[in-house]
């Protein structure tokens, strides 16, 4: 216990203070009542200023250029580490989609000294986790390992082995392809996947971000040599960030990293080139005919911004007003007032290329029209009407509160630090995060709503039974119909 306290003090002494005063002190005025929301205002609310402190991480670099981040979290004798290779699916050669993803997924399938089965058994017997992943539209590949601190050395040895010495055995890649093809079939059975896939396609067109899953043809083209080439070109210490959180000491970790990764040779790495995203065409509706769906999955959205865009915070607040949570407008309207759905939310993605703002919900088939009306109403409303002060203040308090709750999760704090590095955000980004949110005004939100929620370019994706919802959707625009394989369905009335 004594040890814990001294650890904690040390972490806090190097900490900064983020004040929530302006937000928490905002008055709890009586609120307007709507059908789904009634405020009696009798619950005791603390106006006390709660100060939160963000712990500082230890950061350094090995001689070969590998960046190291250590965040001490001594509450429990566990740790979680990751190696972030700053190359992902966006780096894939044009004729080899999935190179990054398959390379990451194959790291554990054999090394110079261990078979796939030996790796699985050794990880398993330590009660540890080891995994690796990349995405088709990702800029990174990541290897994760976690476990108990008393098996730190063994886990680090396995982690280093799969990163440095993968052998990409041909028979294992063959098996990986079979599993990937099966996975593809499972995904195509999910209405949510079909909606996401089509939405990415209509938002991004020929940009690599349009791809969210490999095609069967992509999978067939993969070879052990291609994975070897990707690994050799990109898995370099000067292209890597090592990050760890847990009951560990920075100096001890550093000494062990020198041993495990010190001889990893640096080298020139092909740069990620992110092509520019072009705006999709005019507003259109893309309907995927899935029979016998009993719901319609609806996704509507626009292209939004890159993470570094100065409009990020205003859009984040706008997102929370419309659909960030269970007290946001969409949830209150579509679920609590109208009873169309179990949930209705919006999401803002802001990667290093232009992300999207989207609203999504799953509604019973005969509520498709009503739901479309309400989705369109809420999008217009945030453009046309300034958010009233009470709703605006509580929305900001919600966002700032959610940020403060991360303090309970050291993993989330480490992820913030990694995000700041990967997105090249200012060093004080998280220290000033709440101030930046607090500075947003209702005028800012209306300005970005008008700028980004462009009704003339709004793209709508629906997954459902076309025989029941195609006519309804035509009342909202031009409808194109596709099958669940993503192929256009030709029929007399289906125009383009």
């Amino acid at each position: 216990m004594k040890r814990m306290i001294s650890e904690l003090k040390r972490a806090l002494s190097a900490a900064i203070i983020v004040s929530l005063s302006t937000i928490l002190l905002a008055a709890q005025d009586p609120k307007p009542s709507s059908k789904g929301l009634v405020i009696k205002g009798k619950a005791p609310i603390s106006k006390e200023v709660l100060k939160v402190k963000l712990p500082r991480a230890f950061e350094t670099k090995l001689g070969n250029g590998m960046q190291v981040i250590v965040l001490e979290a001594p509450k429990l004798p566990t740790f979680a580490m990751q190696m972030i290779i700053q190359s992902g699916g966006l780096t894939d050669p044009e004729d080899l989609h999935g190179a990054a993803l398959s390379t990451a997924a194959s790291l554990q399938e054999g090394t110079k000294t261990r078979t796939s089965k030996q790796i699985a058994e050794q990880v398993g017997s330590l009660g540890a986790s080891l995994s690796a992943a990349s995405g088709l539209s990702s800029l990174e590949s990541r290897v994760f390992a976690s476990g108990l601190t008393d098996s730190f050395d063994q886990i680090l040895a396995l982690f280093a082995d799969v990163i440095l010495n993968p052998s990409f055995p041909a028979d294992e890649l063959k098996k990986f392809k079979t599993r990937a093809l099966g996975q593809l079939r499972l995904q195509r059975a999910q209405p949510g996947f079909l909606a996401d896939e089509m939405f990415a396609k209509v938002m991004y067109g020929s940009h690599p971000a349009a791809r969210i899953a490999l095609t069967a043809a992509d999978i067939q083209r993969l070879t052990p040599e291609a994975l070897q080439r990707f690994h050799a070109a990109h898995y370099k210490p000067n292209n890597a960030i090592f990050a760890i959180v847990g009951d560990v000491k920075p100096m001890e970790v550093l000494a062990k990293l020198e041993k495990a990764f010190g001889s990893w040779q640096r080298g020139d790495v092909p740069r990620n080139s992110i092509s520019k995203v072009s705006e999709p065409g005019g507003a259109k509706i893309f309907l995927i005919n899935r029979v016998p769906s009993v719901q319609a999955n609806l996704v509507v959205g626009n292209l939004a911004i890159e993470r570094s865009d100065p409009d990020y915070f205003a859009l984040d607040v706008m997102n929370q007003v419309i659909g960030g949570g269970v007290t946001s407008r969409l949830f209150m309207n579509l679920r609590e007032d109208k009873g169309y759905t179990y949930g209705a939310y919006t999401g803002l993605s802001a990667p290093r290329y232009r992300g999207t703002f989207r609203a999504s919900t799953e509604v019973r088939t005969d509520a498709t029209k009503g739901s479309m009306n309400e989705l369109m109403y809420e999008i217009k409303r945030i453009r046309d009407e300034k958010v009233q002060p009470e709703e605006f203040d509580r929305t900001k308090r919600t966002l700032i509160g959610a940020f403060a709750l991360q303090l309970e999760s050291p993993q989330a704090l480490l992820n913030n630090i990694v995000t700041q590095k990967l997105y090249a955000l200012p060093a004080d980004y998280w220290d000033t995060y709440t101030q930046k949110l607090a500075a947003i005004t209702p005028d800012d939100v209306q300005r970005v709503a008008r700028k980004y929620l462009d009704l003339s370019r709004l793209q709508i994706v629906a997954v459902g039974d076309a025989s029941k919802i195609a006519e309804v959707l035509r009342q909202f625009g031009i409808v194109e119909i596709y099958d669940t394989e993503g192929k256009p369905v030709r029929s007399s009335a289906e125009g383009k």
């Binding site: 619950a43 709660l50 429990l76 398993g124 009660g127 679920r335 709750l405 303090l407 309970e408």
Partner: protein, 482 residues
């Protein structure tokens, strides 16, 4: 009795005791305070000053197993009604106050219990206790709010079951396996029963099951235990207690013959096999031996079934196992999704072979090691979040009147021997207590309902067909923020 009587006297001075014995792994013991209010509400409090938050878990001893015929799905529908207002809290004001004051909250229902959870900044202790006490004391329901939540719950059912591949077979599986109504119907319930639920049902259910004497409140967080206890007392102790709810009969007639069913599912693209072995009592040494068995057989990439079915033979795309520890009589379940080109029969044959091997030979040293290390890690990691700790404490108190089980989880796994694993493999994994549920993709479209078909996978099973039912965790809303 004027003052609450501490049932267990633990030291308040520290939360976690870390002792590093020579050559021995670190052990962690959670210290907690335990008291019972005059109205029967049981309270557990843990000080945890690692972050400026406080978490509250309230577990009501009611789940779908308490439902009567004609009102399936009601426990879950009722859970939604707890957000629609009480005497001093307006409709959805609960959610609004939690969110806008920096917290998060949700609720969830399964067969065994209904759980309400919240995490708030520690300076909002009074707010969360006020909100929870007000809705335990009084409920303000209208036909309008009932209709709205009925709609939400029906869409939740469509989203999770009716519009999902394998949804209907998952639901049918448990109904097929159980003879006792308590577990032979799904948590979601039928659309007809949900439609039939009225305001009087809501009021009766509230009075019967949402009494302080039928609940446990666990609080974990950055607050002094004596302050937390006195605040809880002042908010909750005047809520009147109610007569004890009727006990649930979970007696399950002994199953004497294997059962199976097969369903054609127009939403599925690959066949799926569910295999269940009924008869495992919860919270017994056998429960823990079954956990070790599962680690060897069907947990993770190093498991026997993954290595043989997915890696070596490429017959399955997915395979995993778990014990559904229903109170009274639970079951062990294996799920396998058949790979493209694979056959259901071949997958079933390999599973049978591996089960026979567990019955014949002891598991390997490294497999026992895997089970113990995995369990030790899980029980330690579960203490990271204040809410996770509160949830487990409350559950152990509601189910077994023993919150200290939170400290015993790992030791009970550590006590399992290879012989225990072999013994439970022979005791429970028998063809006579088995239920097999097969989903086959339906190639010809469209048929609105999954069609039950006859399908000979294993000869010697008695077949029967039944109507639908069953899944596991239902929430007031799904989590959306990462």
């Amino acid at each position: 009795m004027k003052t609450p009587k501490p049932l267990l006297a633990f030291s308040l001075c520290c939360l976690l005791v870390l002792t590093a014995g020579a050559q021995q792994a670190k052990k962690i013991k959670l210290e907690f305070n335990d008291m019972k209010l005059k109205n029967g509400l049981r309270v557990l409090v843990v000080e945890d000053h690692s972050a400026p938050v406080v978490s509250v878990a309230i577990t009501y001893d009611v789940g779908s197993r308490n439902e009567r015929k004609g009102r399936t799905g009601f426990a879950h529908l009722f859970e939604h009604m707890m957000f629609t207002g009480s005497q001093n809290v307006g409709r959805n004001e609960y959610s609004l106050l939690i969110a806008s004051n920096g917290g998060r909250a949700n609720a969830t229902t399964n067969e065994n219990r209904t759980l309400y959870v919240a995490t708030v900044p520690s300076n909002q202790l009074d707010m969360i206790l006020f909100l929870e006490a007000d809705r335990m004391r009084s409920l303000d329901v209208t036909q309008e709010s009932l209709d709205a939540q009925r709609n939400a719950v029906q869409e939740e059912r469509r989203r999770e079951i009716d519009n999902q591949p394998y949804g209907k077979t998952t639901e049918m599986f448990q109904e097929f396996m159980y003879d006792n109504f308590a577990y032979r119907h799904s948590v979601f319930g039928s659309m007809d029963d949900l439609n039939a639920a009225g305001l009087q049902d809501v009021k009766d259910f509230f009075r019967t099951y949402y009494a302080p004497n039928n609940a446990v409140l666990a609080l974990v967080g950055d607050v002094r235990a004596d302050i937390a206890l006195s605040r809880i007392k002042s908010y909750f102790e005047t809520i009147p207690s109610q007569p004890s709810p009727p006990t649930v009969d979970t007696t399950e007639p002994e199953q004497t013959a294997g059962r199976r069913f097969a369903v054609e599912d127009p939403l599925a693209r690959l066949p799926r096999v569910l295999i269940g072995y009924k008869g495992i009592a919860d919270n017994t040494p056998d429960t823990f031996a079954m956990q070790v068995l599962n680690q060897a057989l069907a947990s993770g990439q190093s498991s026997r079934l993954y290595q043989r079915l997915v890696k070596e033979k490429e017959l399955a795309n997915v395979v995993f196992g778990f014990t559904n520890e229903l109170r009274g009589v639970g079951y062990y379940q294996i799920t396998a999704i058949v790979a493209p080109g694979g056959k259901v029969e071949d997958v079933a044959t390999v599973i049978d072979e591996e089960i026979r091997r567990l019955q014949r030979e002891p598991i390997a040293d490294w497999e026992l090691e895997k089970a113990k290390n995995s369990s030790r890690r899980l029980s330690i990691q579960a203490l990271q979040s204040s809410l996770g700790t509160a949830i487990r404490l409350a559950q152990y108190e509601v189910f077994y009147n023993d919150p200290n089980l939170i400290n015993a989880e790992f030791e009970r796994i550590a006590a399992v021997t290879k012989q225990d694993v072999q013994r439970v493999a022979n005791k429970y994994l028998r063809e006579t207590t088995r239920t097999v549920g097969i989903t086959l993709p339906q190639e010809k479209l469209p048929t609105p309902e999954p069609r039950r078909i006859s399908c000979d996978i294993h000869s010697g099973f008695s077949s029967r067909f039944h109507r639908t039912t069953q899944p596991r965790v239902l929430n007031f809303y799904r989590e959306t923020r990462q």
